[in-house]
Every structure is written in structure tokens, then in C-alpha cells.
């Protein structure tokens, strides 16, 4: 029964694609004058785009893959992999236009750039890089944001549900948010500061994750039987690649190879280190032992938290932000246990809480190219509060609606037997290790 249905769905999906294509004016692509292109800036953003792609696959895929049980590792890795493929296509077909097309009432972009119409090799306004390069750099952000969410419903989401959810969430939540903050939307007009995605990427995915965890419910046996990570070195490998890629994510957001990029690079690195240290210390106090997973989690917390601030703060502020991040996120992860929902891989505690903290911290510590409260500009803090809360509400409400739609159409969870057997065999007819 089920299979033919999802076949149909795919067929329709493919048709849709080809439609867009044939309609698309971007068959051939207008050669840009490229007059104002700066080779150095272009070199750095080319590299940064590759780095952010590397964050999704293999980075995030392995970071998450190592944390699940071995019967679900392929299913978990698949989430990041297929989201990268699927959302990239959605982005070039429609997503980019919704996010960065000419502003419509401050809320979305027009469809002027659908199918990348009018996106060529000419310099992107205000930068020294080709428009196409700006588009693909932003594409990577769109992909990783959706992929981050998957950690909350790991080991139990139906694969068809994942596909549908990802497309809807990307088009209806991510693209509008990106427009609000970066595409000329109302939050940008307000002067909200989000250097590389503390709100657009981390708050949105982090609190979407919370809704997913609550709507899907806990994994079978959650709390009762132990579910230790099946391969922590894999998770550490993922951590290292995420960190590596994050330099492109944050320093690349300067959209050029300049002092601002260098400053963002330094802030990013310091916050990652401080996050790792402080999570470790906090855990050491509480449980009496420092753990490798704790350091890895702290590093990611530091990175998520510095993301919105990277370009606006000095190195010592970055150090503070990192130290706070590791402690706050650890606390959030510990408290989760009390709240009882099964955010399987702690997306809420790390990205949601981290992103929220970072947006507010930017309002306090901004000192480069903008002033935060501590530098005599209390107004900025208020703006940041609006940014954080608006993003959170939009993400929570939107995600809830999308989940309901997916539940009614293809259903959200795999059967209990399939969950027992594991996603790898039940969803993909594969085994990770032989």
C-alpha cells in the first residue's frame, strides 16, 4: 500500500522539477561583466562555500551518526546527506528567490530569481564576488539549517516524512527568515544584528527541533534502556569537520577576504575553544569526570553561540561568549532530562539555547561596526531581543503546522517493529557494518 503512494509522490516531485526547468530563463546564463570582481574575495568565498558544504556532509552527518545506535547510523547519516541534495535543488529552483529576491513588504522576496533567473557572474551588489557565488554560499546555509533539526527526531522518523518536512520547512520557514534578517526584510530594517545565522540558522533549527521532539514523542525505550553513542570517535571526527567548516560559515560571512573576515575567524576560534573548556569544567564539577563528548558538545555550543556575534565583537568578548556558551548549553542539556521530551541529539540545548544566547550577547558586547549595551547602546539589546523572540515564535508555530501536514499526509513515525529493527534495515535495506 505505502510504497506505490510514495512512488507517485516522487514522480510528481520530479515533474515539478522539470517544469521549473523548462520555465526557467536560466538555461544559458548571462555572462557578467565581472568588472568589480575581486579575485581575493572570490577565492575566499569559493573556499568558504566548500567549507560550509563540508559541515553538512561529512561533518554533521558523522557528528550525529556517531551518537545514535549502530542500527540507525545509516538512517541518521542519510538525513544530512539527502537534505543537502534535496534542499540545494529546492534552493536554486525557488528558495533563493524567496529569501533574496526583491523585497515584498519586508516579509519575503519576490519570485524574480526563480530557477536562478538573473543570477549570473556579475558582482553581487556591495561585494567583490559573483552573484552566483553569493547564491551558492547562502545555499549551504539553507541546507545545514534543515539538517541540524534532524538530531531531534533521530532513530524514529519515517524517511518519506523527512523528505516532505524538509522541503516545506525550507521554503516556508527558512527562506522567509533569511529574508527578514539578511534579504532586506523587516528585522534587517530594524537594525537587528545576526552576523552568520544565530537566529536564522540556530534559533530557528533549535526550536523547530523542540517542536519535533514533542510532536513525534520519545524513542521506544527512551529512559528505560541505555542508548549510548555507538561510535564516539566518529562524533569527534564530525566535531572537527564542523569546526573546520565553521571558519567558512562565520569568516566567510564577511563576504570578502579582509580585516572583518580575520576578526570573525579569530572570534569563532576562541569561542569554540572556550566553549569546549567551560562545558568540560562544568561537567567535571557535576559528575566528577571530564568527557570527550562533553568537550565536543562544548565546542559546538561555543560555535553556535558566537555565530551571530563573530563579526561584531573583539577576541576577549568572544572568549566570554564561549565560556558562557559551554556552561549554559550544558545546563540546558542536563535540564532536558527533567522536562522529559526526547530531543535525541540535543539540538535544542546546543543550537536553540546557544543561538538565543548568542543573539542577546551580540546586543551586549557588539563593539566592531556596531555598539551593544556594554558599549553604550542599550537600544541594540532590545532589537536583538525582538530578533530572537520573533524567530523563535515563527519557527515554533511554523514547524508545528508543517508537522501536522506531514503527519496527515505520509505519517511521521516508523512502525514500532521498524524502530525495533532499526532505520538502516527497515528504511534502507542496508547495514552499516558487516
Amino acid at each position: 500500500m505505502k510504497r506505490p503512494i510514495c512512488h507517485q509522490r516522487f514522480f510528481i516531485f520530479l515533474l515539478m522539477l522539470f517544469l521549473c526547468l523548462s520555465l526557467s530563463p536560466a538555461w544559458a546564463q548571462e555572462g557578467g561583466a565581472g568588472s568589480q570582481i575581486d579575485t581575493g574575495d572570490t577565492a575566499w568565498i569559493l573556499m568558504s562555500s566548500a567549507l560550509v558544504m563540508c559541515m553538512v556532509l561529512p561533518g554533521l552527518a558523522l557528528f550525529y551518526g556517531g551518537l545514535v545506535r549502530s542500527k540507525n547510523v545509516l538512517g541518521t547519516i542519510m538525513h544530512s546527506a539527502i537534505i543537502l541534495c534535496l534542499i540545494s535543488i529546492v534552493w536554486v529552483v525557488v528558495g533563493y528567490s524567496v529569501a533574496f529576491g526583491p523585497d515584498v513588504g519586508g516579509f519575503v522576496g519576490s519570485l524574480a530569481h526563480i530557477g536562478l533567473a538573473g543570477v549570473g557572474t556579475e558582482a553581487f551588489p556591495g561585494t567583490g564576488i559573483p552573484h552566483l557565488l553569493f547564491m551558492v554560499f547562502q545555499l549551504m546555509f539553507a541546507a545545514i539549517t534543515v539538517a541540524l533539526i534532524t538530531g531531534s527526531f533521530a532513530e524514529r522518523m519515517k524517511f518519506t516524512a523527512l523528505l516532505l518536512f524538509s522541503v516545506l520547512w525550507s521554503v516556508f520557514i527558512y527562506s522567509p527568515l533569511a529574508h527578514w534578517v539578511w534579504g532586506g526584510g523587516w528585522l534587517q530594517e530594524m537594525g537587528a544584528l545576526d552576523f552568520a545565522g544565530g537566529s536564522v540558522v540556530h534559533i530557528s533549527s533549535g526550536f523547530a527541533a523542540l517542536v519535533c521532539a514533542m510532536v513525534l514523542g520519545p524513542r521506544k525505550g527512551h529512559g528505560a534502556e541505555p542508548m549510548p553513542p555507538h561510535n564516539l570517535p566518529m562524533t569527534v571526527l564530525g566535531t572537527g569537520l564542523l569546526w573546520f567548516g565553521w571558519f567558512g560559515f562565520n569568516a566567510g560571512s564577511a563576504l570578502g577576504a579582509n580585516g572583518g573576515a580575520a576578526s570573525a575567524f579569530v572570534a569563532t576560534h576562541i569561542a569554540a575553544c572556550a566553549g569546549g573548556m567551560s562545558w568540560m569544567v562544568a561537567e567535571w564539577f557535576r559528575t566528577g569526570k571530564p568527557t570527550m563528548l562533553g568537550v565536543a558538545s562544548g565546542i559546538i555550543s561555543g560555535l553556535a553561540t558566537i555565530t551571530p556575534a563573530a563579526g561584531f565583537v573583539g577576541p576577549m568578548s568572544a572568549l566570554i561568549i564561549g565560556l558562557v556558551a559551554g556552561t549554559v548549553c550544558y545546563a540546558a542539556v542536563v535540564w532536558k532530562a527533567r522536562l522529559g521530551y526526547d530531543d535525541s541529539l540535543d539540538v535544542v540545548g546546543i543550537h536553540g539555547v546557544g543561538g538565543f544566547t548568542g543573539i542577546l550577547a551580540t546586543g551586549l558586547l557588539a563593539s566592531v561596526g556596531a555598539q551593544g549595551l556594554f558599549f553604550g547602546n542599550p537600544g541594540q539589546f532590545v532589537t536583538q531581543l525582538v530578533l530572537a523572540v520573533a524567530t523563535l515564535i515563527f519557527a515554533v508555530v511554523g514547524t508545528y503546522i508543517i508537522l501536522k501536514v506531514v503527519d496527515l499526509t505520509v505519517g511521521l513515525r516508523v512502525s514500532t517493529d521498524d524502530e525495533q529493527v532499526g532505520l538502516d534495515l527497515s528504511q534502507h535495506n542496508e547495514k552499516a557494518y558487516s
Partner: protein
């Protein structure tokens, strides 16, 4: 002394262990095994090539007990390991000539 060997479904291990402890069993030895039987295995596909895997993962528990405990243990394991679906597993009973606890050199029932 008796050696009770039982083959069960992996996710039943904790339940069976707890049940055995309740009736006073103090030790057991567990091995990961692959079972072949009525329960059919699964299909795997790699680049379009399909494999039929006949073996299913099982857990083997070896249990040395005093003779008088035999019935109680058999009932307990049967109850705790049962799901009613094919593949629940088996229990095998055999005699033991002797048991030694290495640490103390104790033998017989005192050793388990």
C-alpha cells in the same frame, strides 16, 4: 549442577536478567550469537544487488545453577523472554559434572 543455555531476542536481555536476579540467580555469562531457524532473516541491497541474510542476531545466556533451581529458572526465562512471535528462542538443559570458583577454589554449588 545444571547448565541452562538459552537463546533469546537481544532486546529481551535486560528483562530476562532482572527476572533471574529476582529469583536469586547470582551470575550468568552472555554471548552475542547469530541464529538460524524458522524466523526468517532480512534482505539487504547494495547498488542494486540483493542479499538474503538468513541469520538473525540473538543473545545466548549460559547459566549454571543448583539442580533444585532448575524448574524455577526454566519458568522464569520462558516467561521473561516470551513475546509470542516466531524467533523467541530456546532453552537447553544439560548436566554439569563440576564447578570451580577460580578466586577461592570453592567447588560445587558454593561456587556459583
Amino acid at each position: 549442577m545444571k547448565l541452562i543455555t538459552t537463546i533469546i531476542k537481544p532486546f529481551k536481555l535486560d528483562e530476562v536478567k532482572e527476572a533471574l536476579i529476582e529469583i536469586g540467580v547470582q551470575g550468568m555469562t552472555v554471548t552475542e550469537v547469530k541464529g538460524f531457524g524458522r524466523q526468517k532473516g532480512h534482505k539487504e541491497t547494495y547498488r542494486g544487488t540483493e542479499y538474503q541474510i538468513d541469520f538473525v542476531p540473538k543473545i545466548k545466556i549460559e547459566l549454571v545453577i543448583a539442580d533444585e533451581l532448575e524448574q524455577k529458572v526454566l519458568e522464569t526465562v520462558t516467561r521473561a523472554a516470551k513475546t509470542g512471535s516466531i524467533g523467541d528462542g530456546k532453552i537447553f538443559v544439560s548436566d554439569l559434572q563440576g564447578v570451580i570458583r577460580i578466586r577461592t577454589g570453592e567447588t560445587g554449588e558454593g561456587a556459583v
